[in-house]
């Protein structure tokens, strides 16, 4: 009798429905946005200005020191930020936070952007001036990297920067200039800095998929070139998703193994077919 109860079609359908539930994908996963942050960094490119402390806060809030004693030529690491308005200020190193800042800027950060706030002494009467440059967030061509020049040398200036095979990365760049990016092949890129009779050489490592700023600074009448990273992509990025699960905690646990599903189907078939066969036999017997 118990078998008969199980054989009712409603029970059969319910069992089949249960099986379907564990294999039907759940709704809700959407191709959503990425991280939704922007990036900022700050560079001290004022040779006549002693080291500074860099203060930072969301707009309207009291600034907190985020970088201490950044001297001439220093560029901070990038910080990611939620989109919004922020205030960046600089005070002489160890000055009280209550003192008036030497420079203060309010920056509006949007997602998927990167900027460098570079501080030069090129305002009126050699006052400090912050220049916000846009940093590259696009991938260079296959096997290539990008290089640009930030001219941070007040004397000597202007500066011409020659790249590999006669390529010019900067031509008579004035103090405070940022050149557009130039694409170069991956490798050690030889560069030559020239300002009048002052010359200097540098070798700049450039990886494919990366962007580099070549920072030109003055050093007791000489020129110095320092490469800093403007970011990198993932060389040879994977495609598709990642198979990182065995299903042991999925709804149904081990029951989601395929042999179990097959087993359930066989069991249901036996349940349905057995009485049919029996009825047919009984019918024949009569």
């Amino acid at each position: 009798m118990r078998l008969r109860t199980l054989l009712r079609p409603t029970g059969l359908l319910a069992a089949a429905g249960l099986l379907l539930l564990t294999t039907t994908p759940a709704a809700g996963a959407a191709t959503g946005p990425g991280p939704g942050v922007g990036w900022i960094r700050v560079g001290h490119l004022s040779p006549g200005v002693p080291p500074v402390d860099i203060y930072f806060a969301p707009f309207g809030q009291p600034g907190k020191v985020v970088i201490r004693k950044a001297g001439y030529g220093a560029v901070t690491p990038y910080s990611s930020l939620d989109p919004g308005r922020y205030t960046l200020s600089m005070r002489p190193a160890d000055a009280a936070p209550t003192t008036a800042p030497a420079l203060s800027a309010t920056i509006s950060v949007e997602q998927q952007t990167a900027h460098s706030l570079l501080v030069f002494e090129n305002g009126p009467d050699q006052t400090l001036r912050g220049t916000l440059v846009t940093d590259d967030l696009t991938a260079p061509g296959p096997g290539k990297g990008r290089v640009r020049v930030v001219e941070g040398s007040a004397t000597p200036a202007p500066v011409t920067v020659g790249g590999p095979d006669g390529m010019a990365l900067a031509t008579n760049a004035a103090y405070g200039d940022t050149t557009p990016y130039a694409e170069v092949p991956e490798g050690i890129v030889p560069v030559q800095l020239t300002s009048g009779s002052v010359k200097a050489n540098a070798d700049v490592p450039v990886a494919a998929g990366s962007s580099t700023t070549l920072l030109v600074t003055q050093d007791n009448g000489a020129l110095k070139a320092t490469p800093i990273s403007d970011g990198a992509d993932l060389p040879n990025p994977p495609k598709l998703g990642v198979e990182t699960g065995g299903g042991g905690t999925a709804s149904g646990g081990d029951h989601s193994e395929p042999w179990f599903a097959a087993g359930v189907v066989v069991f249901l078939l036996v349940l349905v077919l057995t009485p049919l066969v029996r009825r047919i036999r009984e019918g024949r017997a009569r």
Binding site: G34, P35, S80, L128, A139, D165, T179, L234, V242, G248
Partner: protein, 203 residues
């Protein structure tokens, strides 16, 4: 491109023009209009080969919020379909060794299983992370990188946004990846991937 630049430049506003010791201003960047051109600069030759990259790897992953403290990460490579291969052992945490090491500029990738065939695996609680949570990575060179979670997303594997997840990042970024969503018993595979985006911050 140019419109973007102008918009970005306009975003800077002068906030303090009367500060000691001298007035300061913030101005938009001025970039030369012409692209680089070939000149008579004394050439120094051609681009030479890069030396082998420094062999830096992550050695410890700590995510206090979900009780993860794993030592001994395993390197991960790409499979035949150019897909990122999961750690061979359900118990391991792996990192994509062809990408940047966590803490270097660009998107570093760390992946682990959400479960084995019998129970939870290291990234079982990854989906519980929320923006602002902390992720720490110790490296073989002794450096330590601290990341802050920016977002937690779930993507169907058949619509995995490769460019979003693996696209360029200016600073040090981290992508933690595991499985999520419904389990497809026939394919023995979860339908979705959970991706945690994290990045380095000053504060």
């Amino acid at each position: 491109m140019r419109a973007d630049l102008i918009r970005a430049c306009c975003a800077v506003v002068l906030a303090c023009a009367a500060c000691a010791p001298a007035p300061s201003t913030v101005v938009p960047a001025t970039t030369p209009a012409s692209p680089p051109v070939t000149t008579a600069t004394e050439p120094r030759g051609s681009v030479g080969p890069l030396p082998p990259a420094a062999d830096v790897s992550p050695v410890r992953l700590t995510i206090p919020e979900i009780g993860i403290d794993v030592r001994g990460l395993v390197p991960l490579a790409l499979g035949p379909a150019h897909e990122l291969q999961a750690p061979a052992s359900f118990a391991d945490v792996g990192w994509y060794a062809a990408g940047p090491a966590p803490g270097d500029p660009g998107p570093a990738v760390i992946a682990a299983h959400v479960d084995s065939r019998s129970g939870p695996a290291p990234f079982f609680r990854l989906r519980e992370l929320r923006p602002g949570d902390e992720v720490r990575v110790e490296r073989s060179d002794g450096a330590a990188a601290r990341f802050v979670v920016d977002a937690v997303q779930r993507y169907p594997k058949d619509a995995f946004p490769t460019d979003t997840v693996y696209g360029p990042a200016p600073g040090a970024a981290l992508r933690l990846i595991t499985c999520g969503g419904a389990f497809d018993a026939a394919a023995r595979s979860y339908r979705d991937n959970v991706v945690v985006y994290a990045s380095t911050r000053w504060t």
